[in-house]
Amino acid sequence: MNPEPRLVEVRKNVLKQNDVLARALRERFREAGVLAISLVSSPGSGKTAFLERTLTLLHTRYKVAALVGDLATENDAARLARSQAPVKQIITGTVCHLEAAMVQNALDGWNLRDLDFLFIENVGNLVCPSSYDLGEDLRFVLLSVTEGEDKPLKYPTIFNSADVAVITKSDLAAAVEFDETLARRNIQAVRPGMQVLKLSARTGEGMPVFVKFLEKRRLRSRSTHAVGT
């Protein structure tokens, strides 16, 4: 005899495990007073160059570290190590995005209280990383001028999951006839009110503004925490 079918209510998030870990990470970052920033973008939009420049600029005044996700190589960690900041590579194998558990594992052995800024470079991918909270305080989505102005319209979900958009490789804008007004309009269409920064890691244009932005955010999150405790 076939047993009776019965409908039961469940109401559970599929990624609840990731969400729980991400919340715990966020709490750890806050308690340690470290500002965690993740970077997402398509492959080749300049995440690693941008991060190398950022680490080099911040390294003299702050304690900074980075985790970098990649499918197969340790090239990015080797490049970033030139900045003198501690860097750890997360090799994801066939997985096309970082998950909170990978970040948690990679932080093993690091004392977060020794850090002011922690950067997390996601795998180059504009689709999958949008589903996974990593516990970061801020998510930056990068858009290089060579990619075209309509990237935000093609990948609205990742732009929507991010807090700040960064237009990279600004030194090449004229050569590729990048229409900045159109790019900004597209960003605002998929994420109204999103802050947009423009810079070039190669020439350094826009980097001081970016560094100031980070410093301000770190102070703000620390003072919020102080009030909360």
């Binding site: 469940v10 109401r11 096309c96 109204p192 009110g193």
Partner: protein, 115 residues
């Protein structure tokens, strides 16, 4: 494509639920899916079958309900739908609306169990 790993999470979650209800089998898993979840319905359905193989969910069906983006329009002061995922503006008055109330769902809402 991360739908296979999402499908495997759904199978894990559903297996746990079935066990907690002492079910003998699972016929249907109901899922709510928002456009901002970053998950593609067709790819998820395809992956689900693979993820179910050699698990207590083998042969079960995944029924996906796609739900729209709902925002809180600051001008209408109402829950509103948007023009499109490429244009997060109130569908009624056209105001850009950053406050998203719904649309990120990736949630198992119910299951049909045999017991």
């Amino acid at each position: 494509m991360h739908e296979l790993s999402i499908a495997m999470s759904i199978v894990d979650l559903a297996c746990e639920e079935a066990e907690s209800h002492s079910a003998l089998g699972v016929d249907v898993v109901y899922l709510k899916l928002g456009p901002l979840s970053g998950v593609v319905k067709e790819a998820l359905l395809f992956s689900y079958e693979i993820a179910c193989q050699q698990t207590p969910l083998e042969g079960s069906k995944l029924l996906i309900e796609e739900v729209p983006i709902v925002v809180n329009c600051p001008v209408c002061r109402e829950r509103r739908s948007v023009q499109s995922i490429q244009s997060l503006c109130c569908a009624i008055c056209g105001t850009p609306t950053p406050e998203i109330l719904e649309g990120r769902e990736l949630m198992v809402t119910a299951m049909e169990l045999r017991k």
